[in-house]
């Protein structure tokens, strides 16, 4: 499981946790999130996210 960070606002998407309140269950891999998804904090597009480290989930 990896974590991804929004380059604009710093929001972190953690694959292990998902975003259940946004309809993305825990353990959803980044590549399985729809392309039209956007950052819940700032609205940046999925394509503009970046991966944080290559390591395991931070939690």
């Amino acid at each position: 499981m990896k974590t991804w960070q929004c380059v604009v606002c710093g929001f972190i998407y953690d694959e292990a946790k998902g975003i259940p309140e946004d309809g993305i269950p825990a353990a959803t891999r980044w590549e399985d999130i729809p392309a039209d998804w956007s950052c819940p904090d700032c609205g940046v597009a999925k394509a503009d996210f970046e991966m944080v480290e290559t390591g395991e989930t931070v939690a």
Binding site: V8, C9, G10, C42, G43, E50
Partner: protein, 386 residues
């Protein structure tokens, strides 16, 4: 000089979040149009919201900058001119003047940003009060607090509270001074603001509410801040986060219509043909919204317009997340309509709903674990600018 023609570039003045986001969105729609970006500083791309929560994670200015001007130029297939101050715009001939040179434009976008508001302060160290409005200022602040213990913050709004929390998490003592009776007073109803105040106090904030800083003086290695209520406090560094004022001077001198910001319509067009404004400098249909989400939405609309498909900006309901880990806060400001806050307190914190006279939800504020209800509540809201 020949008059400008449409083969001239689209010129964006400003390399902040607004300018670079527009460039990125425009490139998704048009890979070929010529694009020039003028930057006052070194033109690196960075996440501005991160500046107020980067200390605790020990991020340096260099680490926050995710791409240099050169990398951005390659990524965006754009010409990026750094250290370029635009002195004047001639909207009739479609040229701008910078550093003794002229640049022609087919379309011009002003993404100038905003200046931090400075408090008029007395005292021999008033000039030492710091502000953080860009990456270079953040770097200076990091250097100033190195090995120091206490920071006095002027302003308990969104940015002030975020910095306070970040400084506490990094081990600093924090004084927070604000003329209002509560922190986040302009964003939150009383009960919610009180909860934030108590949580930040428990985390270590020393509050000085209902008063303002009057003077800042140097006493040996420390700064002394005198408050209007007669009290005084000592700090190593004083940081002001009072608020922002749109940069309008360049537009004003060029004869564009300005008010609190550069006045634009829903197309982000200013009073001059071929000139647009975006981000913290723009007053769009009467509103200045200096947050990330409105910038993203406006940049997407303007990118379409510049790519040949005129598109008015639509603002959906836009929640603002206050990055205070000690006490999560999300607020979706209600528009200026008559109504009332309905506050519910439970084990998860506070859920405040702003309802208009017919009982329709117009905005909300969530404090504590209740902040998780953000998505659910946002879905119930109508767009701000439909």
């Amino acid at each position: 000089m020949e008059p400008a023609i449409d083969a001239d570039p689209i010129v964006i003045v400003g390399s902040g979040l607004a300018g670079y986001t527009l460039a990125r969105e425009l490139r998704k729609l048009d890979a070929r149009v010529q694009l020039t970006i003028l930057s006052r500083d070194e033109g690196s791309f960075y996440s501005k919201p991160m500046l107020s929560n980067a200390l605790a994670s020990a991020k340096t200015a260099a680490q926050i900058a995710s791409a240099s001007a050169e990398q951005m130029a390659t990524q965006l297939n754009a010409r990026i001119v750094t250290a370029a101050e635009v002195e004047a715009i001639d909207t009739t001939r479609r040229i701008l003047h910078t550093g003794g040179k002229t640049i022609r434009y087919a379309k011009l976008v002003l993404a100038l940003g905003a200046d931090p508001i400075a408090l008029p302060l007395e005292g021999d160290a008033a000039h030492e009060v710091m502000q953080i409005n860009d990456l270079a200022a953040y770097a200076r602040f990091r250097e100033a607090i190195l090995g120091k213990k206490t920071v006095a913050l002027l302003g308990a709004g969104l940015i002030g509270c975020e910095f306070a929390n970040d400084l506490l998490a990094a081990g600093y003592g924090v004084h927070l001074i604000d003329p209002a009776a509560r922190p986040l007073g302009r964003l939150l109803p009383e009960a919610a603001a009180e909860q934030v105040q108590r949580a930040l106090e428990a985390a270590g904030v020393r509050w000085h509410l209902g008063t303002t800083a009057r003077a800042v003086s140097r006493v040996a290695s420390e700064l002394r801040v005198d408050l209007a209520d007669g009290s005084a406090l000592a700090a190593d560094v004083v940081l002001a986060a009072i608020g922002l004022r749109s940069r309008t001077l360049l537009a004003q001198r060029a004869g564009l219509k300005t008010n609190r910001g550069i006045v634009t319509d829903r197309m982000l067009q200013t009073s001059a043909a071929h000139v647009y404004a975006l981000g913290d400098c723009a007053e769009v249909d009467g509103q200045i919204l200096p947050y990330v989400m409105p910038i993203m939405q406006a940049a997407r609309a303007l990118a379409k317009t510049l790519a040949g498909a005129p598109t008015p900006v639509v603002y959906s309901a836009m929640p603002v997340v206050v990055k205070t880990p000690a006490i999560p806060v999300v607020v979706c400001l209600p528009p200026a309509v008559s109504g009332a806050w309905k506050v519910r307190r439970d084990a998860c914190g506070i859920e405040a709903r702003f309802e208009d006279e017919s009982g329709k939800l117009m905005g909300y504020a969530l404090v504590g674990a209740a902040a998780e209800r953000k998505q659910a509540l946002t879905k119930l809201l109508l767009p701000v600018l439909a």
